[in-house]
């Protein structure tokens, strides 16, 4: 399509209007992030007066100084790293072997097991039974509960299974000739071949772990275990509702707005850092996953 022959001089106006519309859409996607970034570097006074529009006004790092001096900020940041890293590893530990087994045509009962996976995507017991189950398992308020309780997800499992199904069986047969068993076939043949698909799934897991909020809020009571997103939520909520806190800020170099903005920036940075890698894989990923079931 990007062939210049296909586009005549008469289309120029159409193409230019289109480029401008895309530019408007792109800028309106970017703008809120720029606004928040600028707000976080502005003085509390400028923020309260609503002077920040595009660039930082009265540039200062006071909001960051305030945030970085909060113990809970560091505790929750550390927790998020724990949940993200161990959660993703745990997911892969379940998903790779499970998806491989489900992809093997010789697996007896394969249809049944696949249906069992698909059914979880159609029917969900809901919040309450899931919560009560976690409580009965003794997984409330525990790192393990958050890490294991959300390890498997039907979409990722099917995505990986579809990839394994697409690998030509000649690879497996060649390995079998050399006397490899199922474990070796998976580890030495399929895992190396499936690196792009595994990377896709790993990145999906990383992002959803990093962003996970609802269940962490519901399942964790102990403040020292909460992840960054829950802390962020608490802080923004208390900052914007707590008049006492606001009152102490009248003379402070930071304000409710700048502090909220600074936490938002701190929690976005890691996502921005891995975003180029995500982008490399996810397009393929969502298309692979969408093909079947």
């Amino acid at each position: 399509m990007a062939n210049l022959n296909l586009y005549s001089a008469g289309d120029k106006r159409f193409v230019i209007v289109n480029m401008i519309l895309i530019a408007i859409f792109t800028v309106s996607t970017m703008y809120p992030f720029i606004y928040i970034g600028s707000l976080s570097f502005s003085s509390g006074f400028a923020a309260r007066a609503g002077q920040v529009i595009l660039t930082p006004i009265e540039t200062t790092f006071e909001a960051y100084k305030y945030i970085l001096s909060q113990r809970m900020f560091w505790v929750s940041y550390g927790n998020t790293f724990i949940y993200t890293i161990f959660g993703t590893l745990c997911s892969l530990l379940f998903l790779i072997p499970g998806a491989y087994a489900l992809s093997r045509p010789q697996l007896f009962g394969r249809r049944f097991f696949n249906l069992m996976v698909a059914f979880t995507m159609w029917f969900n017991a809901g919040l309450i039974p899931f919560f009560l189950n976690m409580r009965d398992l003794g997984l409330l308020d525990s790192y393990i509960g958050i890490i294991i309780g959300f390890a498997v997800n039907g979409f990722n499992l099917i995505l990986l299974r579809n990839f394994f199904e697409g690998v030509p069986s000649s690879f497996e047969e060649a390995a079998r000739m050399d006397g490899a068993n199922d474990f070796q076939v998976l580890w030495k043949v399929y895992v190396p071949l499936a690196k792009p698909a595994i990377a896709t799934v790993a990145l999906f897991c990383l992002v959803s772990r990093w962003n996970g909020f609802f269940w962490a809020m519901v399942l964790l009571r102990d403040e020292d275990k909460i992840p960054l997103q829950v802390y962020l939520r608490h802080t923004i909520a208390t900052l914007s509702n707590d008049d006492e806190f606001s009152a102490t800020l009248i003379d402070a170099p930071y304000s409710v707005e700048t502090v909220s903005a600074a936490i938002i920036v701190c929690s976005i940075i890691p996502v921005i850092i891995i975003y180029p890698f995500i982008q490399k894989y996810f397009e393929k990923g969502i298309l692979m996953g969408g093909v079947k079931e």
Partner: protein, 322 residues
């Protein structure tokens, strides 16, 4: 299938007794035990974390007590459902869910399609990929942050929206405390967050359109506008229809996480959906059995919708070219 077919060939049909079936299964287990070892953790996980809660759904028909547990709480039949359907709170949540997903669909469904068509018309490759990189980004940002941005931007005292309104002499509006503003803000936010990412599916469909169609259109002197309407859109129509069916199937899946982050008691009348209702009644007020009944109703309706949508989509895609 090799193994299974081999066995069929060995055994005459008459000998298909219960015993030979058992033998066959044992043979499979013996030969493929390693595969079952690989599969087992995932299956156990599914049973423990997803199927056990389905068993726990029975509390919707019980007078659940924490001390008696799921199995030993007494049955009370449909009492919770009767309370549910006569409670104004639940009926309101149901109405809100339908209204919010209906408007999300009507306003939100065309946006990614238009975006994909527009991306497709950009000839400068770098411009295109830069724009795509940016519009996909919000999908990967957590709802807490998105809500945080919304709360900051719409703040009545210093938010950019009210600052902008003040230029036109409009007094500050307390957007997030006003029921009439909740839906526009919520729907706008989700479209802003997801439209770019959702356009990927349509871009893939457009990439699949045969270039020869365009070439012959150029020979006939068609403009790009005409080609878009006469070639691109008809060619991606099957994808479009399937996405629409799937979207309708997922009607009840309103992103309640975002609603929890954005609503407040003063906006419940337009913002409270079934899942946020369940969250408040169950997890905050501890009425587990009653909330589970609401959840069961939600899950059954969602299941029927999804299965219906899937089978329609399947039938449709079989008859269409896609």
């Amino acid at each position: 299938m090799n193994g299974a077919d081999g066995h069929k060939a060995d055994t005459p049909k008459v000998a298909y007794t219960q015993r030979s079936r058992m033998n066959r299964i044992v043979d499979h287990l013996k030969r493929d035990w390693q595969l079952y070892v690989l599969l087992l953790p995932t299956i156990i996980w599914l049973v423990v974390f997803l199927y056990k809660p389905m068993y726990g759904l029975q509390i919707a028909f019980k007078d659940y007590s924490i001390f008696k547990g799921v199995a030993n709480s007494p049955w009370i039949g449909f009492e919770h459902f009767e309370t549910l359907f006569s409670s104004e709170g639940f009926m309101r949540a149901l109405r809100n869910t339908i209204a919010i997903s209906f408007w999300s669909l009507v306003i939100g469904f065309p946006v990614p399609i238009i975006l994909a068509l527009m991306f497709n018309e950009i000839l400068n490759r770098r411009y295109k990929s830069t724009a795509q990189t940016i519009v996909y980004l919000p999908h990967f940002i957590s709802s807490v942050i998105i809500a945080g941005i919304v709360i900051t931007a719409f703040s009545p005292s210093a938010g950019i929206v009210n600052t902008a309104l003040s230029w036109f002499g409009i007094d500050p509006i307390y957007f997030l405390t006003r029921p009439d503003w909740f839906r526009p803000i919520f729907i706008g936010t989700t479209i802003w967050q997801e439209a770019g990412f959702q356009s990927i599916v349509y871009l893939a469909a457009i990439a699949g359109v045969s270039p020869t169609l365009y070439e012959s259109a150029v020979v006939d002197g068609a403009s790009r506008w005409q080609m878009m309407w006469k070639i691109t859109i008809p060619c991606i129509l099957p994808t479009l229809i399937i996405m629409l069916i799937i979207r309708i199937g997922n009607m009840l899946e309103v992103s309640f996480e975002m609603i929890i982050l954005l609503y407040q008691p003063s906006t419940y009348e337009t913002a409270d959906v079934v899942n946020t209702f369940i969250y408040r009644q169950g997890l905050q007020n501890g009425q587990y059995d009653f909330a589970a009944a609401a959840g069961l109703f939600n899950a059954v309706v969602a299941f029927v919708l999804v299965i219906g949508a899937n089978s329609i989509a399947k039938r449709y895609s079989r008859t269409s070219l896609w």
